[in-house]
Amino acid sequence: MEEYTVVEKNMNSSNASHQSNASHQTNASFPSPQIVNLEADLFISDLILDPQMGGRRLRSLMENQLIHSLRDLYTLPLHQIPKRLDHVLTEEDCTRIRSCLRDEKRKSNAGRKAEKCMGLGIFSINREDESYPLNLRSLDGMPLVLYYMGDLSILGARKMPAVAIVGSRQPTVYGVTVTKEVARELVEHDICIISGLARGIDTIAHETTLKYSGKTVAVLAGGLDQVYPPENRDLFEKICSTGLVLSEMPPGQKAMRRYFPARNRILSGLSDLVAIMEAGEFSGTLHTASFAAAQGRDVFVVPGTIYAQQSRGNLKLIQDGADLLLSSEDILARLAGLSFFREMDEIRHDEERRSIAGRLKESPQLLTHEECIHIICEQLTFAERTMDELIEMTGFPFERIAPIISELELMGKVIEQHQRYALTFFCT
């Protein structure tokens, strides 16, 4: 019962801060689920950072299905933590977990912190949440909890394509020029730019994106209240207002040297494609590249001169087989292919697909416009077709197919040559 009262107390105490954050809450007299989750997430982060507990033991709790949700650790009374613990985990782990969870101070700390976070406009997402970034969900070793400020929908389910632009903290003029140009061109094609808010290339990437009113995401190594480097405070504020800043670390955590590689794994994981502007021979940027490769993200590298120190890393990556970035077109073409295949995959694995095929046979006139597009694209995936062949294969009349083909042609998805239509895998 004690635990319940603690929770209750925390809830009441957080009411005050709710009022200041009216936009995030549905009813003034009750705490929003958001703040309860925030408290729970802060509690989890605290556990992870505690060497007594650590992320590994927490994960093992989940993996062995001892708890439904990590947030239960915070909201449920201790005695509901299953007794089964002993049968599954080692004795040492069990005692550590038990002692950590018994710590009352930890929970009240989490409550206090949550209040502070709400005041700063910092929120959290948990891996169990719907809004957890789609790109991270499919990867292993991604953070259980993320803190963010700004617009999370940028990375949501129906997200825009995202490209990470990273590079050296001491860029050459060449690197700066390329970064500005690539960032501008990508923004013009509605692509989100992800970077790390570090000095040098990262800063330029963010600034250029904001200049052309694009969407940008900054992934920080430390807590969101600890902006590092400090001279980027203004930039940070600007990104918060139009874009998104993310961190794995709870507020209050200083950016430490060892956190940076961990930050880089989130950075590459969030993006669909990583573009390396300039990297020295032992640059941290190379970490990002290797994370990206491991996560199955394409790495595009700007070729530099063989004389510049800041290009050594680039050239090494190219030698290892990274893609060359000669113009932003390279990135756009690859992204188009990715997003196209992703769409096709979605529909291919979809139950709905079968129903489309069924309905196509029964009553083709009832299919929606989008479904027709998918059917036509699918026919074109395997071979070039003439209009007559398409009509025969789909069973649509000419007047149904023609406008769709025209539309696809205008979008640049389909190209016609010698009266045959083919997919271009290019859709910007």
């Binding site: 209009m387 007559d388 023609a402 406008p403 040559q417």
Partner: protein, 532 residues
Amino acid sequence: MTGKKNRYAKISTCFLYGIEGFLADIEVAISSGLPAFEIVGLCDPSIRESKERVRAAIRHSGYEFPTGRITVSLSPAYMHKSGSSFDLPLALCILLASGQIRKKNKGRLFAYGELTLTGEVHEVPGSIPRLACTKGTDIVQIMIPSRTVREAALLEVTAIGVSSLLKAICLLEGRSMPQQEQEQEQEREAEQVKILSAAVPRDIQTESLCESVDFSLLRGQKKTGRAIFLAASGFHNILLTGSPGSGKTTAARILQGIMPPLLMSEKIELLKLRSVSGILLDEDLYKEERPFRYVHHTCTAAAMAGGGANPTPGELSLSLHGVLFLDEMSEFSPHVLDLLRQPMEENSILISRAGMKVRFPTQFLLVGATNPCRCGQLLEEPKSCTCNEWQRKQYMNRISGPLIDRIDLFSELYRIDKSSLLESVQGTNLHLSDNLREQVAACWQRQYERCDQAGQARVLNGSNHTHQIMEFFRITSKAAEFGVQSSEKLRISARGLNRLLRVARTIADLEGAGDVQISHVAEALQFRQKTS
């Protein structure tokens, strides 16, 4: 008889100028003097030749050719006249002037026809315009070659067909023919006065429409099927591209068949042209089918545009209100093709000769057919084309840009597969064309109504050269914007955009939609010319 000083007679007749008939008067004056026979009034040698025919025919019919000075005047004297149609009126006029016969009816008499030496009356080209020019005049009696009474019936002109000079004389004098002659007459032809067009058997009309190729024979060619349907619905010029044997001619034939029958006024205009060029067949009079002129690529400029010292209409005019089919369009001599440009915009062609200018109407639906390249295999799969890129360009460049600019629809045909081939050989019992023709007719009606509302002459979308295209065609601003955007992306010229919107209008008309929407423009985009 020779005692009288000035013996004089006058009969009305007609002559052709271009495709129009003009009334003319023949006057004959016989005066005493040295025997002479003069014809005046700007006539060419073909009329002077008639002297001998007239002389022989009069004698053969049992009358005397008068002696004395015979002066014949054809008026209006300032217009150039030619042909043998003056024989009959001239003979009658001489007989009247010489007093050998007497008119029973005092009113104005009209006659034309060619005489043989034995006095038989033969028909001459141009019966329709000749008969048409008698309408609305004070002529009371019309005599025409007996073969042309059906034309008269069609035009609702009360005319009497005469087969011989003798018969003409009898009619003139108001007496019956001698018994023996009459029997001969009845054998040859007894058909007389005023057969109204209502008397034309209905079943002949409908049957003639079914003769054209049915739409179902175009199996497998979906895009082209739609294209020719649109071409017929909006009178849009169309270019069909396809390998040899893919059915381009069939498609053109079907296109002709799905167009609504000719209107009466159109039909008469067409018959005029045909009768002037002397290719009018009896069955043409009952046909309501639109003309289909198959023009081979060896066609000369004169055959295409019309010509001759005495200009006759060419293919451009003979395809009036119907289909002008140019097979192997890229094999035509370029200057012959360029002849098409002016008539397509002005709906008429002017033939200038020394001393005369003739304007023939032209209003045709151009159906071009061409191979995609010299070897003709470019569109076929598996790829078997042996031409190189340069050759292909050369081949397509033979059709000049300005002409291409006047073509609204471009479609392709492919060699049909085995099963369709079998069907096309067996033929089908389907009558898809009938249904389509009704849809086309309804679509035309909508276009005419729009013209009426705007107070314009009735024209179909394909030949509508309005400048307020947005307003007149009721194109929504969204659709227009879409059209402009796609023109930019697909590099369509301003004229091309104009055509695009006109085709979109026809698509909307077929649906019965009031405004042109984006989807209509998007469909029309597929019929644009594609550079290969």
